[in-house]
């Protein structure tokens, strides 16, 4: 009745059948990870959006952080399956029968390996979901990272289970390790949350860890397979040591070996601090600026301009000096400044009043990942995908080309110090050159309230666009003041900077009038709802 000989195909089918029976025997427990991945996580991610009744556009933004927090526990899924698969095998009776009937070699290692592969496969649709729904980047790298971590945990589980004959202990070690490192392990080997993953980290940290685990796994599988031989040969020697007169020395040696091995592995594979979260960004930038012997206090206008130049690629941290120890630090600092700059822009232009700071909302996000948030809607229209940003980039480049160091100085020299009449004359010429039409109230209004209209005239330099915008704004202020019967200063002979200050309160009055709000609504530009820009915005 028994089949003999080498029937590889049939053996493999039988192994898979045994594996399938093991999975089937899990019952409802088998579906728990599915519940986690495809119901619980999406629900937890979507719930804040539903509660706040935001539009669907906000889903990816609000969900990303939440999802990242929960997905840190995904590597424990294979441990879940391993526990429920193998628990029966070490119960009395079960172990006996499996040992008695087992004729297929490597059955346990095959099963453990298959459970790992099964879980990795299970993550595929989840990864696709993330890709499609939340537009995650670097998904391949992260998937490989997760797969390797899951593999390491599987090997740890398998090793402990085989050596100590305990499923409970085998499960406890990776779970406790993972939970502890997830809570506070900034420098832990496998902690997922605080590092930006790149190919280099994967190659230098995770891949060697994978091969080390593979070697350990193969070794333990051999022990499992040759247990009887080992019991006959090695075990008596260990027993002698364990119970002999040198037992204290034996235990001390084993302890030193275990601790030493652990430290060695940790030192070999411990990650460099390669990522900083948004909440660390400000201090990181400060420390790098200090390194460059520069001091720009956070929150000031110069800091904002510095962030703008960095965002425009004109002052990246690494270009200034290559003595920064970690390129990752410079990358994080650049990313933070980029995010900081657009956060300022978002808070200014956001459709809702008093928009919450993106920095506050995303404090736990990695700096290098934060810019991707800006690419999503609705942020993109008001930040990275805005014409305003295109204009500011051009302006910064022109400024550098003209030998200026900072936007404030540039604006002051090139715009604010100009006398009204000179600007008026220049603008008349520019209007003709760029087919913007005549110098009429209609032109002033559109240029003041629909700035994109000017931004898109690429035949004009950014400096000329600034000139036109400044002129149109002041002309529109004067026009609206007369319409509303408000007192307006005489512009003649005064500089633009002077006029910006003198009309400051007038702008507030005009913007507060209902008729102005009606006028604002005529335009679709992302900034139209802001009305006439206050003087502080003119160089932002």
């Amino acid at each position: 009745m028994l089949y003999q000989g080498d029937r590889g195909g049939e053996q493999m089918r039988d192994r898979l059948r045994i594996l399938y029976s093991g999975f089937r025997n899990m019952g409802k427990v088998y579906w728990a990870p599915y519940f986690l991945l495809f119901l619980f996580l999406p629900y937890m991610a979507y719930q804040p959006v539903a509660v706040a009744q935001f539009s669907d556009q906000f889903v990816p933004l609000i969900s990303t952080d939440m999802l990242q927090s929960f997905s840190a526990y995904i590597p424990l899924i294979p441990v879940w399956y391993l526990v429920f698969y193998f628990r029966g095998q070490f119960e009395p009776g079960a172990a006996e029968l499996l040992l008695a009937y087992r004729r297929i070699p490597y059955v346990r290692s095959f099963d453990a390996l298959s459970i790992w592969a099964h879980t990795a496969f299970l993550l595929l649709p989840f990864a696709l979901l993330l890709k499609m729904w939340l537009h995650f980047t670097n998904l391949l790298l992260y998937s490989l990272q997760y797969a390797i971590i899951m593999f390491v945990y599987c090997v740890v589980f398998f090793t402990i289970m085989i050596l100590f004959r305990s499923v409970l202990l085998a499960a406890a070690v990776p779970i406790i390790y993972h939970l502890l490192t997830s809570i506070g392990g900034e420098e832990s080997i496998l902690f997922l949350g605080n590092r930006a993953l790149n190919g280099e980290i994967l190659l230098t940290k995770y891949l060697p860890l994978f091969f080390l685990s593979l070697a350990v796994g193969i070794g333990v599988a051999q022990i499992d397979q040759n247990r009887k031989t080992l019991e006959r040969t090695v075990a008596p020697q260990i027993k002698k040591l364990r119970y002999g007169k040198y037992k204290t020395l034996f235990f001390a040696g084993m302890t030193v070996l275990a601790i030493g091995g652990g430290v060695l592995i940790y030192q070999t594979f411990k990650p460099d601090k390669t990522g900083h979260k948004v909440y660390e960004g400000e201090s990181l930038v400060a420390s790098l600026l200090k390194h460059f012997q520069t001091e720009i206090p956070a929150g000031t206008t110069p800091y904002f301009y510095f962030a703008e130049r960095c965002a425009a690629g004109l002052a990246p941290m690494m270009e200034k000096d290559d003595s920064v120890e970690s390129s990752a630090e410079a990358g994080s600092a650049d990313a933070y400044l980029y995010f900081y700059y657009f956060d300022q822009m978002w808070r200014r232009f956001a459709p809702q009043r008093e928009a919450e700071s993106l920095i506050e909302q995303n404090r736990q996000v990695l700096c290098v990942q934060a810019p991707s948030i800006l690419e999503k809607q609705p942020y993109a229209d008001y930040t990275v995908a805005s014409y305003h940003w295109m204009y500011r980039q051009r302006l910064c480049r022109e400024m550098v080309e003209e030998g200026y160091q900072e936007q404030g100085e540039y604006y002051q020299k090139e715009i604010q110090e100009l006398v009204w009449e000179n600007v008026e004359e220049d603008v008349q010429f520019l209007l003709q050159q760029s087919n913007l039409g005549d110098d009429t109230p209609a032109f002033w209004e559109r240029a003041a309230l629909d700035r994109d209209w000017i931004y898109t005239r690429l035949s004009l330099s950014a400096k000329d666009q600034t000139k036109v915008l400044s002129y149109a704004r002041l002309a529109y202020i004067r026009h609206r003041a007369s319409e509303l019967g408000l007192a307006c200063p005489d512009y003649r002979g005064k500089t633009i900077g002077n006029l910006e200050v003198q009309t400051s309160e007038l702008v507030e009055e005009i913007n507060g009038s209902p008729s102005q709000m009606q006028k604002n609504e005529r335009y679709n530009s992302p900034y139209s709802h802001c009305g006439i820009w206050p003087k502080e915005w003119m160089n932002f």
Partner: protein
């Protein structure tokens, strides 16, 4: 044929079985012994689940159980895959036992019929009673018509009808297999075993056919009126049984000495078993 030669198994300082020498050939062997006598340890050591600390087990000519031996085993605690159906469970064991796929379904059906559980094939194991699970355990041991079958406490949890059915199963396979049944219930093996092994304190106290075991007790089994015997302090005796006959209560006792009120009766296997494990003429009652 399985040869066991001076087998010894220890757990730490405790000697579980010692100096066991026996030969198992085709037929049914009953392994009797009180709890803790070493029956399960002996079975497990013969099966190779325990490494012997002394002596050896030879399966045929080999030093250990080889792949040419098809065997079945029912452990004391049979694992039930609660979420699998009866059919799936047996198919799982059929796979483990390397029964060719083409024969698996047929084998599963045959064994289910043997334990009279064909109607429960689609039920989940978790929904079965303890007795039914035990019968599935018996069925899995019989899968593949093994040439050696070891049963450890096979009738635990079975009702009288199922015990009888189990005996019928054994009667069917005894011609082509070596069957070893471990139990402490003498009546389970009395009618079906060709040979009986009595294990006591890890040692083989006696081996032999049913008749030979009965012979151990010949001339030592007495029936005495219960009332008279309770009041008597005469002689050393061991109580086997108390029963009522013709309105009077009787005691069946073992004694190596002549009992004044008693009459000698024909011994049975249980008497032989008690003779072995209590020792004739022992001090305790």
């Amino acid at each position: 044929m399985i040869r066991v030669d001076h087998l010894e198994k220890r757990f730490g300082k405790k000697v579980a079985v010692q100096d066991i020498t026996l030969t198992l050939e085709r037929g049914v062997y009953g392994l009797l012994g009180p709890n803790g006598a070493g029956k399960t340890t002996l079975m497990r050591t013969i099966l190779g689940l325990y490494k012997p600390d002394g002596g050896q087990v030879r399966w045929g000519e080999a030093n250990a159980r080889g792949s040419d031996f098809s065997f079945g085993y029912l452990p004391q605690q049979f694992m039930a895959f609660e979420e699998l159906t009866v059919e799936e469970t047996l198919a799982y064991f059929a796979t483990l036992k390397k029964i060719p796929k083409s024969q698996r379904n047929e084998e599963v059906a045959r064994c289910l019929k043997l334990v009279r559980l064909t109607g429960e094939a689609k039920k989940k194991m978790g929904a079965l009673s303890g007795g039914m699970v035990r019968r599935i355990g018996i069925a899995q041991a019989l899968l593949g018509n093994p040439s050696v079958v070891f049963f450890d406490e096979p009738t635990a949890g079975l009702d009288p009808e199922e015990r009888m059915n189990f005996k019928m199963c054994i009667a069917e396979i005894k011609k082509q297999a070596t069957v070893l049944i471990s139990t402490h219930i003498v009546s389970d093996v009395e009618g079906i075993c060709d040979h009986i092994l009595i294990l006591h304190n890890g040692r083989l106290a006696a081996t032999g056919t049913r008749k030979e075991i009965e012979e151990i007790a010949r001339g030592k089994v007495w029936v005495v009126p219960a009332e008279a015997k309770r009041e008597s302090t005469e002689g050393h005796w061991h109580l086997i049984n108390v029963y009522e006959q013709d309105g009077q209560e009787w005691m069946r006792v073992l004694s190596g000495e002549q009992l004044a009120e008693g009459k000698l009766v024909q011994p049975n296997v249980e008497d032989g078993y008690f003779c072995c494990i209590r020792g004739i003429g022992g001090e305790s009652r």
